[in-house]
Subunit: 243 residues, 2 copies
């Protein structure tokens, strides 16, 4: 059977996953393309469906999940990519309850750009962080975040939490923020477990976290530029505190 109608109830449910509301109601998200789908299988994500466009040869995918074939038109409707590859996985959103970090942690304090969030997840996994606390930030399971994470989404614990919940689980940790009048990041060596705070793209770190910071670091900059991109600042902090 090839699904050809956007009115079919299963297709309607899958289309709803493009939106945060649909993802929350169904507990599912979408990962697109050959590489992301292959890695979802390889790294044992809980796959509910594999969806392929008619004519796509999915025989190389070693997966027990139910495969659904749809017309190219329906596939394009489900995908938000300009040139979809013809395969996507519908994956269960893992349930994370805010917990103590496993080693050092990342705190995202109002990250709003999906590309930034995805890139931060990618860099966090590359540099060896596995716990990300999200406060007032964009949904990490939106298609743009998932794509920009380049499979990083499969390897991190993503805790949506409040300031108070955060303070409880990172009790005893150094809370590190970056600001203009701190110690030079490139000369600082952490002595304790730490949580790196990355602030909102326009407004920086919130007062709630600024007040609780135990370490303030500065990324040196010339006077021609006011600030760095959030995912760049995050990468410099994540890597240089480890290396």
């Amino acid at each position: 059977m090839i699904y050809s109608s956007k009115q079919n109830s299963l297709i309607k449910m899958l289309a709803s996953l493009k939106d945060k509301k649909g993802r929350r109601e169904n507990g599912l998200y979408i990962a697109q393309g050959v590489k992301m789908v292959s890695e979802a299988i390889k790294f044992n994500q809980e796959i509910e469906y594999i969806v392929i466009a008619e004519g796509f040869d999915a025989s190389f995918l070693d997966c027990n999940a139910k495969t659904i074939t749809v017309t190219n038109q329906v596939f394009e409707y489900l995908s938000d990519e300009k040139t979809p590859q013809g395969v996507l996985a519908v994956i269960k959103i893992p349930e994370f309850t805010a917990n103590k970090p496993n080693g050092n942690a990342i705190v995202l304090d109002g990250i709003q750009d999906p590309g930034n969030l995805g890139t931060i997840i990618r860099t966090a996994v590359a540099s060896g962080y596995s716990d990300i606390y999200l406060i007032n930030s964009v949904d990490p399971f939106s298609p743009k975040v998932v794509k920009a994470s380049m499979s990083g989404i499969y390897f991190v614990n993503l805790y949506k939490c409040t300031y108070d919940e955060l303070f409880q689980v990172i009790d005893g940790y150094d809370l590190i923020v970056s600001d203009l009048d701190g110690d030079n990041l490139f000369e600082f060596k952490p002595k304790n477990n730490y949580a790196i705070v990355i602030g909102n793209e326009g407004n920086g770190v919130s007062n709630e976290l600024r007040e609780k910071a135990s370490v303030v670091l500065t990324i040196p900059m010339t006077d021609k530029i006011e600030s760095l991109n959030a995912s760049v600042a995050a990468a410099l902090m994540m890597y240089n505190l480890k290396n």
Copy 2:
């Protein structure tokens, strides 16, 4: 006079600046929003026109360039932003002839994503690099690059060049590429003037530059992620070679 027609020859010319062909033919590009326009004035860019939407109060802009008022509809047509602020500057594209770098340099070897290029320019200026050599890369004066550069575009020399032209001007420099089997970036201290190569988002550094590299550095990564985002890798290289 308020321009209200998309068919007006001046409006047509301004609209053509959204495309590379129009920018090349007219030698002009567009910088949008209050901050980018204010900084273009402050940092003495050669502004040909200031374009404002009707009702926008431009009296705070201290600029001798000719101001053109257009209807909101025409402004939205000229702008590629979702929520335009009602002001943009039309600026002369500076002419750069490939020249020896002033200190250390950045070489972009096939960067295709405008957001990445803009972010790399922003980080380069923040970290103190002023010479960027572009080979097979996206046009740096496209609206998306200009926007992501956050005024960085006003402070860099952008040389579009061939491999041979590059090799001539950086003769005597260390050409630094990143790869999986190099020295650890975080343990390396440069001894000579250097040029950092950032490769294409999908394919990495070209064979032409890989063969000529005098230093190969590795950004350590866990085995869960294949590569870093190009603007993240660029930032780690640029900052850690200086600090």
